[in-house]
Each structure stands twice: as structure tokens, then as C-alpha cells.
Point group: C3
Chain length 215, copies 3
Amino acid sequence: MRGDEGTDFSTVLLVIDLVGVFVFSLSGALVAVRKQLDIFGLLVLAFTTGLGGGMIRDVLIGDVPPAALQDWRFLVAAALAGLVAFVYHPALGRMEKFVGVFDAIGLALFTVAGAIKAIDYGVPDAAAALLGMVTGIGGGMLRDVLAGRVPVVLQPGELYAIPSLGGAAVAVGGIELGLSTLVVSIIGGLVCGVWRLLAMWRHWQAPMPQGPASV
Amino acid sequence: MRGDEGTDFSTVLLVIDLVGVFVFSLSGALVAVRKQLDIFGLLVLAFTTGLGGGMIRDVLIGDVPPAALQDWRFLVAAALAGLVAFVYHPALGRMEKFVGVFDAIGLALFTVAGAIKAIDYGVPDAAAALLGMVTGIGGGMLRDVLAGRVPVVLQPGELYAIPSLGGAAVAVGGIELGLSTLVVSIIGGLVCGVWRLLAMWRHWQAPMPQGPASV
Amino acid sequence: MRGDEGTDFSTVLLVIDLVGVFVFSLSGALVAVRKQLDIFGLLVLAFTTGLGGGMIRDVLIGDVPPAALQDWRFLVAAALAGLVAFVYHPALGRMEKFVGVFDAIGLALFTVAGAIKAIDYGVPDAAAALLGMVTGIGGGMLRDVLAGRVPVVLQPGELYAIPSLGGAAVAVGGIELGLSTLVVSIIGGLVCGVWRLLAMWRHWQAPMPQGPASV
């Protein structure tokens, strides 16, 4: 594992990571409220959304038990987000844009952390970029499958996964160029986060297939 | 692996485990009948419900190939349950409460066995309790996702996952206190099973989020 | 790993494998077009359909990172199929039977390759046959779960999974009899592929549960 930038950077990464888990878990819990699930269903959606993407990545690269099960702080962050949403969901619903900004930050961090970890575990470049994206969007996809809907990230709407894949590709490219993990994280994260925020602001969408759908 | 209580206890555990697989597989097959799937769909739902929770746990703790694929008796128990449900589903449907009691026993055993195995594989306590619950409820969640519905365990209804998590927590706590696997299994299993049966009998439910759902 | 038949057979297997990924990915992309997903959703369904079955198998037998992430040619085959479907989906929709024939070939190859790999990793016979089937049908099941529908393979219709399980069982049996991988692959693949094609042509279906479904 890369860790040569020292303790300060590790602490920063951990804090951002916990914030990412918290924000993603909030989004899972809010979906549970809308689906009228009880507090247990809400907590399950909070956990799967906040921790699912990293767990899928860890299972695929062979780092088991996954990091999310090794460090109690991740479980606490997800549970706390669930309880906050259980009590304050009406207020959170009114802060949608605010939550969206934090979600973009979480997406950027998860994406970059996922891509770097995949490289560390010997995954080839193209697959590592994909695993960065899976880390970023996997939790939300699990959330939607459990909530009984087609994953939002697959449906037409403002770009979400493409900024993630873009940021992951930049991070992987930076590592290939020999840049430090710190620099790679910042550049890759900015590409992903800013792209996502611009897509939200300017309503950028991905192209749709043209012509009639075959039945 | 803990095995110091000797062959008799192992045999008891195996028999209960096979009964648990059988009962869970029955519930999967009955869902398939209701969804009008053919015999193959029915068998797939029987297998995933009976063996899915343990397989998710084994993948997450790194015990692969999962135990369910290593011992043909588990495959036979699941297949047998599927065939029984294929032929006798009208009668089984009338025995719903009877099936519910066995399901509670299966839940208790899967939960405790899952939590103990996770501890054996070095998973920290809180995560081990969660994995116990995942072992207990994971198969049913897979069943519901494949059957195209929001997992029953996430929806409002009589407590199911919370007794599982409670029993798993008691089992993990007992191991921390140095109790033997046998004692821990019995106490944790009783907590889970009795709690679940009381919830069925007294219609205990988990709290729901209050106030209007944000859209 | 078995590889003693030399380079030529390996090359043949690789080419057929890539064709299988391509055809399966096409089917995933066509579902995405019907579900009106954008190009990203289409590519995700292409990847999960083409590569998902093998990835589930690899995670279950402990070969991580999965082969599909280790060799860029699989990623390229899946991406290419997605782009072809994005542009030419109306024409592909009219070639449904043609696609169905290639799908049967892909099913046969995935099934046999999955069963042989499971045996190589020490999985017992019955479970290895099941894993062969999982390799063959798992990608399509993931595709359908992500697309929000009950997996087609579980629903009443022309036999699909049963030829797969049959071909896998024949392959496993052949290995037990000491036949070479090449011979086993051909016989098992023919059983699966021909059975599937006959089922399409003659509309063979699996039996349904009889009598009223219990509620």
C-alpha cells in the first residue's frame, strides 16, 4: 500500500472517506424514507449505499474481509447517517442541492481511492479505472436494486458515472506517469468532482440511442 | 475453527444447519410458485434462499469456495426442498405458521453460526454481528431481489432482522466473555429465535420514520 | 490449470470466449435500448451481461481479481458490443434469431469453461456443474436485475438454464472419466448448445407447478 506521504495525508484521507460514507449513507436512508421502509430497512439501505461500492471493489480485488468491516468507524459513520435521516429527513429533503454537493465530493473521493487501491492490488490500468468507478457508483446501484428500482445512475439524467470514470482514468494515468498518490488523488478527485458539479449545474446528459427500440 | 466440543456437537450443528437450509429453501420455492416461475426458476430461488446468506458471508470473509459448494449435503437439502415445494405447495401454503416456526429456527441457527464463523476468521466484533445477521437474512434478500420485489425484511412488518442482529450480538458478546461455542450458540440462538417468535405472535414492529417523506 | 493441449487450443478457446463475451454483451445492450437507458447505462448492462457470469464464478472460487479484469481484450469485446448496439440496434433487433444462435454458442462455451475452471480450483463435482451454469446464466441474471425485471431465465419459456446445467454435468463427468479438456469441452459444449437450439426451435419448456398458488 502507498502510505509514503505520511500521517497527515492519511488522516485527511480518512476524514474525507468518513464524510463520503456519511453522505452516501444519507442518500440511501432518504430513499428508504421515500419507499416507506421501517428503521431497519432504512439502516440497511444506509449501510449498503455508504459501504457497498467499496465492499464490491474489495471482494473483486481479494482484500477480504473488506476494509469497511475492519474499521468500526465506517460502520459508525453509516449508522449515524441513518439515524440522522430517520429523525431529520424532512429538513434534509429541503437541502437537496446541499446534499448533492457533498455527494459529488463523496463520489470524487470514492472514485480516486478505489482506482488507487485497485492499482496497488495489481489490477491492470483499464480495469483499475473501472473499479474506481465501481467504488464510486456501486453503493448507489445496490441501494436502488434493494429499493426495487432501476439504478438511477443507469437512467437518463445529469452525468454521474462518466465524471467518475473520467476521474478514475486521470488518477490511473497519473500513477503511470509516476506522480505521487497525493497529487494523483487531488487531480483525479478534482476532475471527477468538478465535472459532476458542472453536470448538475448545466444539466449535461449522456447521449441516448437513436431510432425506435427493437422489441 | 472452533471444534473442541467434539463430534456430537458438530453432528447436532450439521443436522440443524441442514434443516435450516431446507426450511429457507422451502420459502424460496414457495415465492417462485406464487411468481409463476417454472421448475428451474423454483430451484434457483430455493438454492439462493437456502444457501445465499452463507455464501455472501463466506465471500466477504474470504472462505472460498463457500462451504455450501464444498459439501454436497447442502445442495441436496436445497434441491429436496425445491422438489417438495414443487409437488406439495398447496399443502405447504396452508401450513404457513408451521413453516414460520421452522423459519425462525433456521434464522436463529444461521445467525449464530454466521457470527461465530466471522469471529473465527478475525472479523472485528461489530462487523461479525452484522455478518451473523447477513447470514440469517441474506438468502431471503437475494430471493426477493431475484423475484422482483423489495426484500420483505426491509419492509414494515413483524421484526425479523432485529432479532437476528440481537442474537448475533449476544453470541459475539459471549465469545468475548470467553464462553464456549456450545453455550454461546445456545444463548444467541435462543435470543434470536424466541424474539422472532414473540414478534410473530405479538405483531411487534420496528418504528417508522415520522412526518412527510421528502420527494 | 489445464493447458497441456498447447497453444492452438488455447487460441481457439480465447477467440470463442471473446465471441461469447461480445454476443452476451450485445444482448445486455439491447435490453438497455428497450429500457431507454443512456449510453452509460447501455455500456454497464453490456459489461455486466458479458462479464458478470464469469466474475461471479471467479469470486466464488477465489480467483481474484477475476479474469475479466486481468485481460483488456474482454473489456474491449464488451465495450465494442455496447457501441455496436448503440448505433445498430434497430438492425440487430431484426436479427433476433441470428443473435439467438450466437447466444446459444456463448452459453455453451461459458458453461463448459466455467465448469472446467471450477474443477481446476478444487470444487466438488456437483458444485462445479452448478458453477458452470452460473457462468453461463449469471451475466444475464445480473442484466435483468439491473434492468428491473425478474430474470428471464427464471421465467417460463424455452429451456435455457437446463441445457446449460446438462452441458456442465457432461463436462464434469467427462473430466471424472479422465477425458482430455479438449474432448470434454467439445462434448459438453455440443450437449449444451444443441439442446438449447432444439429448445428454441421446438419450443421446449420446463414443467410448471400444478394447482393453485398459495398466497
